[in-house]
């Protein structure tokens, strides 16, 4: 078992980069859509054989055991090379939760299946009446014998139509005094009569997320993770690393690179107004990277990040959106054209980038919610 953390940052980066560059299938680089598992299975098999499916998990559970500094490098390299994250909800969310709060039996059973992608997970948190106000969720799970019986509806469930299991927040005590109480974290199989999945077509015409209906669906009591009615605090505990990851500069950096080659090819730089807006966007990305570096250094020193880290997400997602909007401007009369646009010897899918940037300010805690958090937790504003 290699102790990656003992390597120097530069050595480790070289190792990761080398592997991606040598092994990652060219046709999967910078995929514009979320793939179904079958599309990336050949890559997953390689990654699994290498033991690199779960960089953040401790080595004893089959992960790479990376510390925060190495983890950032891993993700930076992954994004730099345009490596698809794959169907990683199991890796990113279910696994860490089971590792932290699960029983020995749950660990033994679920973790290897997550790593091998024998089980493919989707995240069932949001509901029609519970978006930003997630604690308002109403999907119920009631104990009958040694099973939970689930009734209700989830929505915006990414790739639920290509998942075998769902991890969900459900209401197990409707009479709890506060709505954050009485919520539990449950695992459930999708392939059963009580579960119905309907795909939702996105703005870009993809089927990326779904509605999931539960009508007396069942899951064994053993699939409760952690204590009954303690799901809310557990789900919150997962967020800490996610918060810097979602604010990393790479999406905006990649888009900026695309914008530059596209704009150059199209002669958009002849226009001084465009030049100025490009410069502004490029400097926004550069200075964001400096701020990101400050938080990354904090992690490297072993400190935990405060609520302040939310500002990375606000800045970079809005910047990402402006960059993709500039691509559309540079496209001129082709700004509404679906599919890759040819400039010189590069293809740039302007609309795909534009669409990809839109929901980044909505999911992962909308930017308005992030502003609420910063204003209270960081600026100490009242009310």
């Amino acid at each position: 078992m290699t102790d990656w953390n003992a390597m120097s940052d530069a050595e480790f980066r070289k190792e990761v980069r080398g592997f991606f560059e040598a092994e990652y299938p060219e046709e999967l680089r910078h995929l514009p859509h979320r793939p179904k598992f079958a599309e990336i299975e050949h890559w997953h098999v390689k990654l699994h054989a290498k033991g690199w499916v779960a960089p953040a998990w401790p080595a004893e559970f089959g992960g790479m055991g990376l510390n925060a500094a190495k983890l950032l490098i891993f993700y930076e390299e992954q994004q730099r090379w345009g490596v698809n994250r794959g169907r990683d909800m199991g890796i990113q969310m279910v696994g860490p939760l089971i590792i932290k709060f699960g029983t020995q039996e749950q660990k033994d059973y679920w973790l290897p299946r997550i790593l091998s992608c024998e089980d493919i997970w989707c995240q069932g948190y949001s509901e029609p009446g519970a978006g930003s106000d997630l604690a308002n969720l109403r999907t119920r799970a009631d104990i009958e014998g040694d099973e939970f019986v689930i009734n209700g509806q989830k929505i915006w469930t990414t790739m639920a139509h290509d998942a075998t299991h769902i991890f969900m927040l459900v209401r197990t005590d409707p009479d709890a005094p506060k709505k954050q109480q009485g919520i539990s974290f449950l695992l459930a199989p999708m392939d059963q009569p009580g579960v119905e999945v309907r795909t939702i077509t996105t703005l870009s015409g993809e089927t990326e997320f779904c509605e999931v209906f539960f009508d007396n669906a069942r899951t064994p009591k053993a699939n409760l993770v952690g204590e009954l009615n303690k799901g809310w605090t557990m789900a919150k505990a997962l967020l800490s690393f996610e918060r810097i990851f979602i604010g990393s500069p790479s999406l905006a950096q990649n888009a900026l690179g695309q914008l530059e080659s596209f704009a150059r090819g199209r002669g958009a730089f002849d226009d001084p107004v465009f030049r100025d807006r490009f410069a502004q966007a490029a400097l926004d990305v550069e200075d964001h990277a400096a701020l990101y570096g400050r938080f990354a250094d904090q992690l490297k020193r072993g400190e935990t990040l405060g609520a302040d880290v939310s500002m990375l997400k606000i800045w970079v997602t809005e910047c990402f959106q402006r960059i993709t909007e500039l691509m559309i401007e540079a496209a001129g009369p082709d700004g509404g054209t679906i599919g890759p646009l040819q400039v010189g010897n590069v293809n740039v899918d302007v609309l795909a980038s534009f669409y990809k940037a839109r929901p980044t300010t909505i999911y992962g805690g909308s930017n308005e919610i992030q502003r609420n958090i910063l204003s209270k937790a960081v600026l100490g504003l009242p009310g």
Partner: protein, 374 residues
Amino acid sequence: MTQTDMLSSDQEDLRMLRESARTLFERAGGSGRSRKLRDADGGWDADMIRELAEAGVFGVTVPEDNGGLGMGLAAGGVIAEEVGRVIAPEPVVVTVGLSLGLLRRLCPDHAKMEQLVGGTTVLAVAWQERGPNGGPAEATCRYADGKLTGSKAWVVGAVGADGFLVVADSDAGPVLVLAEAKASGLSLEKSPQADGSAMGELSFSGTPAEQLADGAAVQDALADAVSDATALAAAELVGLSDRAFEITLDYIKTREQFDKPIGSFQVIQHRAVDLHVMREVAQAGVREALAQMDSEADPKIRARLASRAKARAVRAAKKITRDSIQLHGAVGYTDEFDIGLYLNRALVLSAWLGDDAYHRRMWFDAREEEGAAQ
């Protein structure tokens, strides 16, 4: 291991420098002192210049062999941020960036070096000229037979300076000369600035001046010194923005309307967050740019980094000071409240050495040139 153990000794040095500069300015009266000086005559305080010199401020980027601290531009930026926080009128950036920036590159053994570092003299730097349409124009000021003839514009720190470092043309090419403020044939016209200071318009008619350097080195040193000053002015704006935001944040926490602090209204909260994020991005970007300038010798790349810093700092300072006025309501529009002093200083510092639009242009052009060279 504690956090401070982990910080490199460089960062620790900068932290101590920041603390001592902050203490020095606060003990002298903070922004209240700056207001008094503005109300008096818009000048600076000679005692403060000496105190700053004793603390090593002016020599921060001057090599130790020449009597300085030899700490580099990043350290200069730390001091400039503190100047900005209390909007101190003393010509710190002019001295560190421009006058010492020129002398340490061109004539490090000249007696004026020691005097500048020691705070016993202040020199302003005159290199730009005003054209017939009022904007910057080709320089025509001449130096011949030990005498200067012509004019110079936009000289910051001119009022109160003991002398001027003037970049002029001569038969032997560009020269850097020193003219005493009291020299004959020199007249100074004051152009009043929003922050109560004055910029100088100088004209020379046969003004005696001492030649300090000549040749291409003068232009090179000037370009480098202007980059330094630009970056330091950016740092000053970062400090200014930081304090302006603190003042505003305090205000929206305490001012009540509709029986609540106005900072409890979401629209105010979100605007405050945007200003906060702007401030943090500016601080991170500008500090990084200055640190990179310290390890960069190529003057063109240094100029690009300085432009990055100034473009960011001006954008942040404009947004923060202007929104701050709005968040204060009518009191923000009075002279009595400090927030207006910050807006006014931001106006002056933004216009000096190029605003954000100008520096985005410079930055873009430099980047294109580097790209083409590769």
